[in-house]
Every structure is written in C-alpha cells, then in structure tokens.
Symmetry: C2
Subunit: 329 residues, 2 copies
C-alpha cells in the first residue's frame, strides 16, 4: 500500500495537493486532480485512517463493552447501536467481559488507550473502583441498563415491568406468587425487579412466604434448581411464579413439566426478556419485551450527540416496554 507521499511524487504534486484533492478542501486545478485520481486508481491507494486519527484527534470508533456476546440480548443491543453508528461512519470496537468484573475495568482501560471517541457500557454489577474510574474518564460515556451517577444512562423500567407482571397474575386471581431472581448486586435485574415484585405483593396485601423467593444465576439450569427448591420447601406451593429472565423461566418450566405440573393450570409463569425462544415454548411464555435494539439505538444517539457537543449535560432516558401476554398465564 503506497502512502500519500508516494502518490504525490507519482502525480508530480505535493502531499498538500493530494490531501486537498482527496478531501475537496482548498483549490486544486482540474489537471492536477485528474493526474492524482489516475495514480490513486492505478495503485489502489486508500488513505490511512490511523494517521488521520492521530492528526485529527478522533478515531471514529466507539468502544462497546457487553457482559457476553453469546446471548440474543447483547446481539440485539449491538445491532441497534450499529444501525445508528455505521450510518455516521463510526465503527464498533467490541469487548466482551464474559461476566468477569475485573475485565470491565481492564477493557475500559483498553478502550481509553485506543482513544475511542466514546464508550457504550452494558453494566452488570457496580463496584466502587469501577464507578470511580467511569466518573473521571474524559471520554463520552453511556451506560445501558443500570443507573450510574455522573454519566448518561439508557434505562429499562425494571421496577414497573416487574410490578406489571405481578399485577397481571393478581388480576388473573393468583394470590400465592413465587419469585426467581438473581443476586441483588445486579441492581437492575437483581434488586429492582425483586423490589417490583415485593411492592406489588405488599400493595395488594398478599403475603410472601420465605421459600417463595429463590435465587439463581443467569443460566437455564439454575432456574430449574430454583423451581425445585421452591416446590420442595414451601409450606404452601404458589400458583404462579415470576422469573426475572426468560432463561430462568425456561429452567423452571422444565422442572414443572418434568414433575407433572400443568402450565398454566397448576402454575402460571412469566418473566422478562422476550427472547426468541419464549414465543415457541409450549405453552408460549408470557414475558416483557424490553426492545433491546431500541436501547442500542438510543445509546448510540446519545454518544454521537455528546461527541458533537450538542449535548450540554448528561442525559437519562427510560425506555418503555411491552408485556407480551401469552399462554403460560
């Protein structure tokens, strides 16, 4: 690959003129332009974005940190970002932490080193060290899914979504409602969704037996185990259960089927996520659609307007959601 210098020599002009021809800036005679374009055509020269970035102090790259790239949720998020970013000539530098908290910090560093123009961060957990790092970073920063002080956020309404699911159960006549959650250090999925469950129960004067509240991790099997524990240990077995993710609900469903429980006749079930498979389970799973692509798009828009300085201060938006009522309730 030749450089601008070689192109200049071959076309018998200076680098300055080549640059001007390439960027349509300043004066270039028709003759010179033709000679330059001919040489470029012949050599297949493309200017180095690397060198340009150094000089212009911008990279046109947005760093994206996700907890894992294997799930649909992340895929849809990233796809939404790409819709907006690629439109504006930005590209995505991807970093997947595989749920490793240490790596979250490491990757922010890595993106800083690469001088990305902005960072979109899909958080799972919060810890002191990370918060501090984020707050003193001078790079445009957007967090999806968790509320973090001092930076822009795109939030899901975890609290109300959970409340709505419980409210649906109650409307259908359920009074004994179980819960399968995840660790509360995950503020959005762990804490807020549980809060929604507990609040709605309380507001309707419904009691919650200790064993109705179970905890899993993010995989299918832990949903199975949690459901098993709930059934085995409860004094009174619930008639409905809310799982905080579709995968947990799927695991729970597997246990229920295996144990001969009818869904929804013996146990209604609902969750949050709207994964593709949720629609095709039998019975089809009632779940909340968070519209991840939209979230990705919104995050990308915020990053772009922050970069362009159209945005004075930080921005927090909360997305709406849709409760998809299907056959499992």
């Amino acid at each position: 690959m030749p450089t601008i210098k070689e192109i200049a020599e071959m076309a018998n002009v200076s680098r300055t003129t080549v640059s001007r021809a390439l960027n349509n800036s300043g004066y270039v005679s028709e003759e010179a332009r033709k000679r330059i374009m001919k040489v470029i055509e012949e050599t297949g020269y493309v200017p180095s974005e690397q060198a340009k970035s150094l000089r212009m102090k911008r990279t046109k790259v947005i760093g994206v940190i996700v907890p894992t790239i294997k799930t649909e949720t992340s895929g849809r998020l990233v796809s939404g970002m790409d819709d907006i970013l690629s439109e504006e000539g930005y590209q995505i530098l991807l970093a997947s932490t595989n749920l490793d908290k240490q790596k979250e910090i490491e990757y922010i560093h890595l993106l800083k080193v690469r001088r990305v123009d902005g960072i979109i961060f899909t958080a799972t957990n919060e810890n002191e060290h990370l918060l501090e790092l984020i707050q003193k970073l001078e790079i445009p920063f957007v967090v999806i899914g968790q509320e973090i002080e001092g930076v822009s956020n795109v939030l899901y309404d975890d609290f109300h979504a959970a409340k709505d699911v419980i409210s649906l159960f109650i409307k259908k006549g359920h009074e004994k409602i179980g819960f399968i959650g995840v660790d509360e250090t995950d503020r959005a999925v762990g804490y807020l969704r549980k809060r929604g469950y507990l609040d709605e129960m309380k507001e309707n004067h419904l009691v919650v037996e200790d064993n109705w509240v179970q905890k899993g991790i993010f995989d299918i099997d832990s949903g199975y185990q949690a459901m098993r524990k709930m059934i085995k240990n409860s004094e009174e077995i619930p008639t409905a259960v809310f799982a905080v993710t579709d995968r947990l609900a799927l695991g729970a469903t597997n246990y229920l089927k295996e144990s001969g429980y009818g869904i929804p006749s013996d146990m209604a079930i609902a969750s949050i996520g709207a994964s593709e498979f949720s629609k095709h389970l039998s019975p089809s799973l009632t779940t909340v659609d968070y519209n991840n692509e939209k979230a990705g798009q919104e995050a990308a828009k915020i990053i772009l307007s922050t970069i362009r300085n159209e945005q004075e201060k930080i921005k927090k938006i909360t997305l709406d959601y849709r409760l998809l009522i299907r056959d499992s309730v």
Copy 2:
C-alpha cells in the same frame, strides 16, 4: 490526557527515556524510572495506541465481518474469536452487513482503511467483485463457512451433515423425505446441504417428488410457508422433512402443529444449527451442532499465526459436527 512529551518534561528526562521505562527496553536508571512512574501515576497517563500503531505499523485490531449480529450463531462465532484474540491483546472491530451484499465490499474497504492486522469474514454469498477484492487484499484473511480460493478457510461439513440427517431418517424407516432449503447462491447452506439431501436419497434409491423440495429465506415464517406448500401440493405427503436451519424447522413445526400433524408420529423433522431453543421445543428438535465457538476460535488462531508468519501458505480446515438426536424424529 498528557502526552509522552509532557511526561518527559515533568520527570525531567527525554521522551526516549520515558518510552524505555514504559516498555522495559534499553537502560533506565532506578532513579529516573521512579520519577517517571510517579508522574505517570499522578497524571493518569496512558500511551496512545494510535500513535504507537502508526509507528509500529500494526494495530492489534482484527476486523470481523458477520452477516448479522442478532443471531446466536454469530454471537457464538464472535465469542469464540474473542476468547483467542483478547488473550493475545487483540481487539475486535465489528462490522455487520445485515445480509446486504453491497456492504460486504464496503466493510472490507473500511477495515483496510483502518489498517486492521487481519480480517475474519463470515460469508453468505459469493460474487465476482467480492472474490476479486479478497484475492488481491494484502491483509491476512480468513473466511468462515464458505470455501473461497486463495485464502484460508474454516469450513463446516455441510454436505455430510445433511447426508447424516437423511441417513438417520432412512434408518428410522422413512422413505418419503421432504426438504426445506434456501437459495443456492449461498453455497454452504443453500447448495451443499441440498446436495447432501439429494445424494443420500439417490444412494438409497429413494425418489424425490418435486413438491417435496421447498425453498425459504432465513426466517421462521418462510419455514411455515414452505411446509404449507409441501403439504398442500404434494401428491404423496412426506413422512419426514429436513430443514436446513433451525428457524426454518421451527416455522415448519408451527405449521404442522397448527394443522394437527403429530411430531414425530405423522412427520419427523430435523435440521442444522443447534440453536438454544431447539432443545426446548416440544418435541425437542433433532439438529446438527456445528460448534460455532470452536469455528470462531480456529479462525482466530489461523489469523494470529498468519500475522506472525508462522504460516507459510493458506490453511483450510473442516470442523466436525455432532448430530443431536432428540424427540422430533
């Protein structure tokens, strides 16, 4: 963010010495090193990878082009690549074509402009223009899923996987076997899987009625439509059907259930893909697991050894697969 020059001034040394301290190259006195490290600590300085890349003529970035990032398959592929690449300090610059052929070419250009150290390409279609571009590109290049001359490939054994599925049907006593494919311009998914179906049928002296061979696109609904056509138009309705992707199989399953066909009693069904949902359908779907993460890992390994010049010539590897026999047959 300060630059190396400012760090040098603050520590009362030259840029050369700072660089040496940072990279543990050449001689640096203990005193100077301490002063430098102190200044770096205080300022939070991190060297610009951008500037380093320009000087060192390498970016430590691998460009990855996928047809879409929304599906599990792509997610698993990229995840596999990331396993290997992040280990070696490389990062992934992601480009998703959204199945737009025009963009495949555009993105290769974009990655070339950014001087990525290598490109991993998950092809869907082949066209003259693209092949030509790839062959005269001077960047290490690996293609996943399609055989392309002149570059390294990581291939799935589409032909034998399809053959094995049909062979399974035949072993189970089926003689009338239908097929739901995609356009044959997609050589791997469209052409080779169909070839496997037809060859195995022929080798077993089984006839294939025209209407048994249907075509869809890559979504669930087209599987539904294809199954409908097959049932409506066939003189004799098949007792088994092979769909080239899990999504097509899912659509077909939906149609069959809706029309009162028992699976597998009236119609056996199997496909290729091993998506997560396949296991949780009822009945669970018989499918071929291609191990996409492995494919991603292998592609990443080839790219790295090509970059390091450990690899003289192009490399072609074909991955094995597992036939997951479940309740749908």
